[in-house]
Symmetry: C2
Subunit: 513 residues, 2 copies
Amino acid sequence: MLAVSCVRACSRAFRSATPMRPVHSAVGITVAQIDEEVAKLLELKAKLGGDDGKHQFVLKTAKGTRDYNPKQMAIREKVFNTVVACFKRHGAETIDTPVFELKETLTGKYGEDSKLIYDLKDQGGELLSLRYDLTVPFARYLAMNKITNIKRYHIAKVYRRDNPSMTRGRYREFYQCDFDIAGQYDAMIPDAECLKIVHEILSELELGDFRIKVNDRRILDGMFAACGVPDDKFRTICSTVDKLDKMSWEDVKNEMVNEKGLSEQAADLIGEFVSMQGGRDLAERLLQNPRLSQNKLACSGLSDVKLLFSYLELFQVTDKVVFDLSLARGLDYYTGLIYEAVLTQAGLSGDTLNGAEDSVSVGSVAGGGRYDGLVGMFDPKGRKVPCVGVSFGIERIFTIMEQKAESSADKVRTTEVQVLVASAQKNLLEERLKLVTDLWKAGIKAEVMYKKNPKLLSQLQHCEESGIPLVAILGEQELKDGVVKLRVVATREEVDFSRADLIREIRRRTSEA
Amino acid sequence: MLAVSCVRACSRAFRSATPMRPVHSAVGITVAQIDEEVAKLLELKAKLGGDDGKHQFVLKTAKGTRDYNPKQMAIREKVFNTVVACFKRHGAETIDTPVFELKETLTGKYGEDSKLIYDLKDQGGELLSLRYDLTVPFARYLAMNKITNIKRYHIAKVYRRDNPSMTRGRYREFYQCDFDIAGQYDAMIPDAECLKIVHEILSELELGDFRIKVNDRRILDGMFAACGVPDDKFRTICSTVDKLDKMSWEDVKNEMVNEKGLSEQAADLIGEFVSMQGGRDLAERLLQNPRLSQNKLACSGLSDVKLLFSYLELFQVTDKVVFDLSLARGLDYYTGLIYEAVLTQAGLSGDTLNGAEDSVSVGSVAGGGRYDGLVGMFDPKGRKVPCVGVSFGIERIFTIMEQKAESSADKVRTTEVQVLVASAQKNLLEERLKLVTDLWKAGIKAEVMYKKNPKLLSQLQHCEESGIPLVAILGEQELKDGVVKLRVVATREEVDFSRADLIREIRRRTSEA
């Protein structure tokens, strides 16, 4: 019993010695000493045999993650093809970065969300963490390679130890599809192209109607100043404003006044602003607003929003874009324009946010903004590379597409096989293997069943199940005549072809499909 | 000082209380209690501010990993396209699994290599590890979803804390491209298709000449028995045999006899066998071998190799396949046929294994085999699903392709942009944005420069640098005439087109390329 009571005493001692002040000198214990003690305790734990000896093998994936089955992969491929085609149409290159980064690369980039980062175990060597997004690795990549301009996309999985909600497409491992433009350019031109891309992709995916909300960090900060929010409360008030898509104004105001100590008057002034939505006209109006027009930051933000809308008109996307002063976005690194795309139809059946009745918004499917300071955080000399980008949260889109596929009459094919090489009688395996070899050589997608003597019926059944449109049937008669019988699965029509004609005929019949 | 000396006392107490026996009851401390104490110590560490205040920021990727730049990505995309096209031609579906698995899912599957697994930090919740290969997650997926037959491919990154060697394409994070056939089928038909796929992919990638070595775990085990290796030494002798591609026979024999205690006579008998290479004829000869023919396991392995070669002849791939009795392969889970593809030309400049003079082999680029027991390890009732598959170690292939691209005169394009929309005079940004919008709408890959008034020369220069073949030039005269000047970058030829004709002309000129 000695050891345990001693450990307890120790930690009591630590607790009482470390109220809220730095304890380095106060207690006289070093981090290295703590590391050593931790290692010893963990070693003891290992000797005890893990979790108190209760061990039962569980057949599952890790919490908040899922496998993709072939049907889901077919949908995923379709979504990626649309997204990548758009990124390429806009001239982007692509890069890839490792799934983990040095822990310190991620440190200090995500504010409060940092607690959601997955760390790797210290197995000797560097301390590593799984990437939390693709933006910070991108900035690290730019600084490390001294790249000052690039237009790139990056599609990869990111990791967040968040509360998962599978039905709403919220996972701990999920894909992001990022498009970013880095470089010193004239104001709002790259920013407008990012919004153009959001418009194109969401339109092409046919997910239903959507809106793209835009705002600007400079307008938010200027607005806070104009409303009398003290400088040191900007960030925390900003994160309360960010909750407006999930909470009522009354609750938000309550949090500002009662939790964060803002004056009621300041809160009411904010309330007036954040209820404003519009387009270029709103930006113009606010430039005349007696409060905001006093603030330099707000004015430059508003002028840029005005300029942005003029480019968006040329890009023909103003039908979906709303200048919305309540948009705040969580991440620390944004410095200018911010935006977020939301689907305005209830694409997910029975899915409402926080159980609210308002089922209009199914949540954000893309977001982004300008982050002109992030690359400089990695550069030893602090050299800045202005960046703007957008990230598609593709899992929620998958979920919607999956539900659409479920309710659709069309079967999702998971292979692209054009023809099954089948036999009508026994002992024709060799002939089947010879023919399928010829077809593969000709680039035709073809299969044989891996049985010596499969029944014709089970071969035809396999075609029905996997949606294979054609069957090339070999029988003794066909071999004698030097032909192959080509059967169309859908119509049961059968025609004999010479080997030479067969390949042409398969190509002809499957290129239309 | 109290706390520290107390922690020290505690750990001393633990140490002395836990010599080599289970300590659960002896000390009276539970794992939960230890967890709690560890958490408290780590919290204290965080308050102390990390690693004793020594902090220097390093701008790098984690050891053994790398970024892919756009040029490398273009090459990677080309390799993947070849690989995926082949997998699809053979009728495979695809799946995906999470990057991490429950730690226990990986436990006991990799033998000695288990020490190379990356574990995640215990942040509360499940204990997780990064996947070590795609085979074990595949088996877990089959068991979990009760799938008894599937032909699937899976392309994803895997993680091994091995000694990296970048120049030789050996990383800690690397891609595997796996193709597997699960199901109860007639012998050697799916196995032969796996080898056919290796043959097709390595031929199409044009990496130079290659050989595919095949052997069978049952032949190895039968051979060991026939040579008088004691049952309990099969595995360890097998892993020594596996070193024959890197060590001379003398060194291998030395390890068997002096390190692993095998009799010299048994070692010499093994030596005779492992020097044998051949085709179907060798399998036939060994079936008559007085030692091997006594062994049931060896005989069934040899008959299957014979059968395999008859299918490989029909698939027209015997030119590259060698039955090689020295092939052993490291992983524990193989139960039957095993194979490995090696490039036989020195594709990597200055790259020789372990500095040996023998630069013929640049090492294995693909490997696989039959693993009939692995899925059963995950099934609660132990139900088996026979599987055979192949894995392409694609990083080494990338390295070779990159070096080929370096030495080639052709420039690797990293975007697919067909046309740059440029302006000849100032103040034409709006017109450029309008035109590029039209082109995007028509599905044409197009760019504008993000400047209000870029110089024509710098616009043309951008085309030269990124290999953009066409420039659509707008000037005051063109606008007045209602035309666009289309310039071919390579020839400097310029022709005016109406807007309606422009799109058709761009398509025509870039579809040939």
